[in-house]
């Protein structure tokens, strides 16, 4: 039986010791990164939105993620607004 190359294994099947060499083999060119975003988008789209009876959940998860990311990005600014006696 032919062993699967490390390059072709999915992330969940990679053993912990092989992780650095697996990461080194990934495609980090701009085209590769764009391809990774495209694949992630397609996975989400085909699982939650491009279905026969897609519901509110598909788009709500995206909006909730957007809210969380906006909070994280504005945290350093918002943390001054905490309720304190002396600011």
């Amino acid at each position: 039986p032919a062993a699967v190359l490390l390059k072709d294994t999915k992330l969940m099947d990679v053993k912990l010791g092989q992780l650095p060499s697996w990461l080194a083999m990934r495609d980090f060119t701009p085209g590769g990164i764009a391809g990774a975003f495209r694949r992630g988008y397609d996975r989400y789209y085909n699982k939650y939105i491009n279905v026969k009876k897609g519901g509110l959940g598909g788009i709500s998860m995206v909006l909730a993620g957007y809210v969380v990311i906006s909070y994280i990005w504005s945290y350093s600014h918002i943390k001054h607004d905490r309720r304190r006696k002396y600011h």
């Binding site: 988008y41 789209y45 939105i49 491009n50 279905v51 026969k52 009876k53 897609g54 519901g55 598909g58 788009i59 995206v62 909006l63 957007y66 809210v67 906006s70 909070y71 990005w73 504005s74 600014h77 918002i78 001054h80 607004d81 905490r82 309720r83 304190r84 600011h87």
Partner: protein, 227 residues
């Protein structure tokens, strides 16, 4: 306790990288491109229905030549609508609260309608400066007034959008601060303020949609006069 109520309108940046680009590009993620199926998924069906609705609404009063503007007007409408509505979510940033962005949208488009009119039918578009049936002594004054009103249109378009959205966001922040502060002191008044906040949020959703519509509608009106 918010230190300054205007901090929400500061252009967000992370370690010096401006994030306003991401908040302007995010709406593109929410609208998938149509595929060639006969029956598409629910999101695409809704999106196509809505797009047909607004394009038909905008293009009906225009002549055939004006239909070249269909793409930019309907995409502007969807852009403004999405950005305004997304700004109502907590912690998000609304790019349309920045006067610079609204003027950058309003000024070139208005100028394009004006130049189209002046180039293709100069006497007709200059004729718009004098309404029919004005008494003769009033003509010079009226021409000046109409020219002023014409030249102030891009400013009005930009400032209208900015002011409406900024005022809405500011009111929401003020009333919610009042609700939170009053809660330990006078819970009954806090509940009253909470109901005001709910009504205000509904108003803000309506304003977000209406302002986007008004922006594009006025541009199409200016186009009708000039095409």
């Amino acid at each position: 306790m918010n230190l300054s109520f205007f901090d929400q309108f500061m252009s967000p940046s992370l370690l010096g990288i401006p994030l306003i680009l991401i908040s302007m590009l995010f709406p593109t993620l929410l609208y998938p491109s149509p595929n060639s199926r006969w029956i598409t998924n629910r999101l695409l069906t809704l999106q196509s229905w809505f797009l047909h609705l607004i394009t038909k609404q905008l293009m009906t009063p225009l002549t055939k030549k004006g239909h070249k503007w269909a793409l930019i007007l309907s995409s502007l409408m969807i852009f403004l609508l999405t950005i305004n509505l997304l700004g109502l979510l907590p912690y998000t940033f609304t790019p349309t609260t920045q006067l610079s962005m609204n003027l950058a949208l309003a000024f070139p488009l208005w100028l394009a309608t004006l130049l189209t009119g002046l180039r293709n039918q100069p006497s007709a578009s200059l004729g718009h400066l004098l309404p029919e049936g004005t008494p003769t002594p009033l003509i010079p004054a009226l021409i000046l007034i109409e020219t002023t009103s014409l030249l102030i249109r891009p400013l009005a378009l930009g400032v209208r959008l900015t002011a409406n959205l900024t005022a809405g966001h500011l009111l929401i922040q003020l009333i919610s601060t009042a609700t939170t502060v009053l809660l330990p002191i006078m819970p009954a008044v806090s509940l009253l303020t909470l109901s005001i906040l709910l009504l205000l949020t509904i108003l803000e959703v309506a304003v977000a949609m209406i302002q986007a519509y008004v922006f594009v509608l006025l541009l199409s009106l200016y186009l009708q006069e000039n095409i």
